[in-house]
């Protein structure tokens, strides 16, 4: 049997109190911060995973910002294309009306004035801006996309915004491609105006074909903008969903179960108090006090 001494017993008590004190401090920190991992040494095996989640979370925040801005810009682009479409449709109706032989030259000249105003409306819509950006000027969006005569003066490159991992959306368009690509709407409107002014019904009929072609191009452009908008919305949804998932994953790794930690803390504090009481009861009461 190992010989035990009073001092030996006291040393055991001291060590027990010290180790319990450390554990109480650790749990106190967990309850106070609500986090199980406050430093790499708290769980080094999970640190890489935690960092990966934090990086992804941080990315989702930017992706949502970027896609939100892209959505707004694409909405404006879509509205603008709708306006241009409406303008061209009006021009087409004019052409259909005045190609008819029943109208005289004066009436067609008057219609030419209306066409001129439609040209202005289309030009204004094609030079639409979002946050000072000319949407259809490509990457040179600090200047107008089209000149007063409808000539394209923007860039043939388009800007792209990153909205997800390896995912970009167009946040600007090359106007010479989407608005005046295969059929130039401004040329079509100009031709209609000239035909009306010159009272040339054959030319009016010919410009009708040009307007139809421009309308077809516009529809394609709207499909393209709509596609970009859908990609942007999808990216935004994905980022938003990922943010929720990643936040949960991060919490499950990083955050402490406060109820559990608190229960352990209370239990440990009770044990600690009991150990202290036992220690105080170990006051020397040996043979010397009896002789």
């Amino acid at each position: 049997m190992i010989r035990t001494t009073w001092h030996g017993r006291m040393e055991v008590m001291r060590q027990t109190a010290s180790s319990m004190g450390s554990r109480v401090a650790e749990l106190n920190e967990q309850v106070a911060t609500g986090k199980r991992i406050n430093r790499p040494s708290d769980d080094p095996g999970r640190v890489s995973q935690l960092h990966n989640i934090r990086q992804q979370l941080s990315n989702q925040d930017v992706y949502q910002k970027n896609s939100s801005q892209a959505e707004q810009l694409l909405n404006v682009a879509d509205t603008s294309l709708r306006d241009i479409h409406a303008t061209l449709t009006e021009a087409r109706e004019l052409a259909v009306q005045f190609v008819n032989e029943t109208y005289n030259a004066d009436q067609r000249a008057e219609a030419a004035n209306v066409t001129d105003s439609l040209f202005g409306r289309a030009l204004s819509s094609a030079n639409v801006r979002f946050n000072e950006r000319y949407i259809f000027a490509g990457t040179a969006y600090d200047g107008a996309a089209f000149g007063d005569d409808g000539t394209y003066i923007g860039s043939t490159d388009h800007p792209e915004t990153i909205v997800g991992d390896g995912l970009t959306v167009k946040t600007g368009f090359d106007g010479s491609d989407v608005l005046t690509g295969s059929s130039d709407m401004f040329v079509a409107l100009e031709n209609l105006k000239t035909a009306l002014n010159t009272d040339d019904t054959a030319a009016i009929a010919s410009s009708l074909d040009d307007i139809d072609a421009a309308l077809t191009d516009l529809e394609k452009a709207r499909v393209e903008v709509g596609g970009e908008m859908r990609r942007s919305l999808d990216a935004s949804d994905l980022a938003s969903n990922l943010e929720v998932e990643l936040t949960q994953a991060k919490a499950s790794i990083e955050e402490t179960n406060v109820v559990d930690a608190y229960s352990k803390l209370v239990q440990l504090q009770t044990n600690f108090d009991a150990a202290m009481q036992v220690t105080s009861m170990q006051r020397y009461s040996g043979l010397f006090t009896r002789i």
Binding site: I2, R3, T4, T5, W6, H7, G8, E11, V12, Q15, K35, I37, N38, R39, P40, S41, D42, D43, P44, G45, V47, S48, L50, H51, N52, R54, Q55, S58, N59, D61, V62, Y63, K65, N66, Q69, A70, N131, R133, G138, T139, A140, Y141, D142, S155, D157, P159, E160, T161, I162, T168, T171, G172, E254, Y284, G286, L287, F288, I291
Partner: protein, 464 residues
């Protein structure tokens, strides 16, 4: 047998019992003295006297020795465990301070700043010419630089502090070695019955301090001498002592600990435990972390600059460097800075992919952002973010390793101390019994003296 002899026997009994009370008193009063080893009186029969008639008569009792109750094996092992525990706890405590620079979720930490840097560039893709977003990208670059610089500086300081402490602690260690040598000499020269016991207590106290400082292998000799070794190299052998010294390694520039050996010295860093061994281990871990951070800074700067310079700035000119590393730098992490020109002119951010200086051209940003996910480290298996995370987790793993060691060796040390103290600690109940025993022995011896005195008185009266 004569009454005179009986008187003499009674006197030896009184003397021995009195000595027993003295030893017990010494034990009782030193019951709480740190390092005190309980003494035990070993009494023995005095050599009997042969009378001319060939009869052997007893000569009473004498004090044979005052023994120190010590378990040599447990004591030697406890000293070794003490060194291991002290090493692990010093290393983990020192690295906890280093770890403060790598706190989890800290918004000023390298990991967070790295995320913010790439986020700012991603946001810039939405408006490459935007003044505010360009400012944000530049500031995020500067924040990353500050964070890496701070981490590198903190690691360098930790290394220096650890080495300064090693130098300071070694002065104390050498002075302890000298004291042990002196005590060994005095123990060797001592002929007192209980003198060496006090000297041995003092020597064990010094060895304990030494074990906590450098960790030593202790070898007790039967003649009371003691030898101390570090990694098989003798520091103290009987009355010979060898000092420890520090030297800077010309290749690594790191401080190393050596033991003097004749004209030269032998490197013993890897054999040290105790506080100094812990400081060496913490220093080495901090150096390893610093090397990784330097590797990150150098590789990251090179790659970002390579991508940045393949683009074009807002003036349509080819991009310059985004970050700078001065020529002949020692530590990339502390030397890294934001390019001086870019720091003052945000138009120098080479966001564009072509030289047309069109405001919406952010074609090069995607290339720079791709660096985040390019496997540049650990032989092309880790990207920058993963590598930074590995720096955090490597440090965390090292600390946990030392904490586990400290707990394990602490438990071993505690067991060995219990074993050691089971033999050597004073138990007051036992001493109370001894006291009663010696008191009774004293009273009995006194009765013998009284009886002999009565006999002598009776004899004198008869003679008269």
């Amino acid at each position: 047998m004569s009454s005179i002899n009986t008187l003499h026997i009674g006197r030896t009994g009184l003397k021995t019992a009195s000595y027993g009370v003295e030893v017990t008193g010494q034990n009782v009063t030193n019951a709480s003295t740190e390092g005190y080893v309980r003494r035990r009186l070993v009494s023995q029969t005095r050599v009997p006297h042969r009378t001319p008639h060939g009869v052997y008569t007893g000569q009473g009792v004498t004090v044979g020795a005052v023994k120190r109750d010590i378990d040599r094996f447990a004591t030697e092992r406890a000293f070794e465990a003490m060194g291991d525990q002290s090493m692990a706890s010093t290393a983990s405590e020192t690295l906890n301070i280093v770890e403060a620079n790598f706190k989890e979720g800290d918004t000023s930490g390298i990991a967070d700043r790295l995320d913010k840097f790439f986020d700012s560039l991603t946001e810039l893709t939405s408006e490459p010419s935007d003044h505010g977003l360009r400012l944000a990208a530049r500031d995020a670059g500067q924040d990353l630089v500050d964070s890496v610089n701070r981490g590198g500086d903190a690691l360098l300081q930790s290394i220096r502090r650890a080495e300064d402490r090693i130098k300071d602690e070694l002065k104390g260690v050498n002075s302890i070695l000298d004291e042990i040598e002196t005590l060994n000499r005095r123990i060797s020269d001592s002929d007192a019955i209980n003198g060496p016991a006090d000297l041995m207590d003092a020597r064990d106290g010094l060895v304990e301090t030494l074990a906590q400082k450098i960790g030593v292998d202790v070898d007790y000799k039967a003649n009371g001498q003691m030898s101390l070794f570090v990694g098989g190299h003798a520091l103290v052998q009987d009355v010979n002592v060898r000092q420890l010294e520090t030297a800077v390694d010309p290749v690594t520039g790191m401080l190393s600990v050596k033991v003097t050996a004749g004209e030269g010295s032998i490197k013993v860093d890897s054999f040290l435990s105790g506080e100094i061994g812990g400081l060496v281990a913490a220093r080495d871990q901090a150096k390893s972390t610093l090397d990784s951070l330097d590797e990150f800074a150098e590789e990251f700067v090179d790659e970002i600059n390579a991508q940045h310079s393949s683009g074009f700035d807002a003036y349509g000119s080819p991009g310059l460097d985004f970050f700078t590393l001065p020529t002949g730098f020692t530590n990339a992490s502390t030397a890294m800075s934001l390019d001086a020109v870019l720091a003052t002119d945000i138009n120098m951010i080479a966001a564009a992919g072509s030289p047309g200086s069109e405001v919406g051209d952010g074609g090069n940003l995607a290339n720079i952002i791709d660096v985040e996910n390019t496997d540049l480290f650990k032989g092309g298996t880790m990207n920058s973010r993963e590598f930074v995370a590995s720096i955090y987790s490597d440090l965390g793993n090292a600390i946990v390793g030392f904490e586990v060691d400290a707990t394990t060796h602490g438990a071993i040390m505690s067991d060995l101390n219990s074993l050691k103290e089971a033999t050597s600690k004073v138990d007051l109940d036992e001493e109370a019994v001894s006291l009663m025993q010696y008191q009774a022995a004293y009273q009995a011896a006194a009765r013998v003296v009284t009886a002999a005195d009565d006999l002598l008185n009776e004899l004198m009266r008869t003679v008269r």
